[in-house]
Symmetry: C2
Subunit: 111 residues, 2 copies
DNA sequence: TCCTAACATCAAATTTATTTGATGTAATTT
DNA sequence: AAATTACATCAAATAAATTTGATGTTAGGA
């Protein structure tokens, strides 16, 4: 039997849980400084905080705070190597969130 | 002469103006109540505040405030008809912002 | 072992966003 | 014309996010 592709997909209406989850993710995106961090992370595979600091005009504790917000929203990942913490974008998550157009603006390596 | 579509669009790196603009848009999205409003607006072409009020558990002045945030971010539009103000989604803007996947969650009529 | 670099975390101060209840205004109804 | 509906706006109160400077922790080097 042929499986119909519905024109309108109302199978997955948004739930309160979705609202809560996406609120957090959009909050993480809703800050110029964090958008800039994302933009810089998009340039490389992985960047340590010590390399990030001179690229961005921000005291270290502040940078650390913003990285944490992004991390908790699962928009970036953290990997410890020795003394250094390397951060990288969670591309999959970001692409699930942002339009292609927006990915092109903020994640130039995506296009 | 044929116009080429570039495979990689690195022509438009993000600027500070982009950061500012998208900060505002993401801020508007970064709230459960506003996501719920968007979700409700997606059900109809256009909804007046008086119909919205009973659908959403919120004092009128609060609803008005949140609609304004969405309006200023250009995520929704307003049209006055007599005594009523009708609000509708700015689908084009939303699709320029959100992934297809996310559109399906919040804007079911999109899928 | 002691020192330093590379961070994270914390508490207090500050800024920004949201909520609330009251008031204002314009269109409609009576 | 007065009353009512459908909003927007405002100011004060509250809540949440951000910033700052200080302190804590861990790993590596001298």
């Amino acid at each position: 039997m042929k499986k119909e592709i519905p024109l309108v997909n109302n199978m997955n209406p948004a739930t309160n849980l979705d609202f809560e989850k996406y609120e957090q993710k959009f909050k993480a995106l809703a800050d110029q400084q964090r958008l800039q961090i994302i933009n810089i992370l998009a340039l490389k595979e992985s960047v340590c905080v010590c390399d990030l600091t001179p690229m961005i005009d921000m005291p270290q504790s502040k940078l650390s705070y913003h990285l944490k917000i992004l991390l908790e929203a699962d928009l970036i990942q953290k990997e410890k190597r020795g003394t250094w913490n390397y951060y990288s974008l969670n591309i999959k998550e970001l692409r699930g969130l942002l339009s292609d157009q927006l990915c092109c603006v903020f994640l130039p390596s995506c296009c």
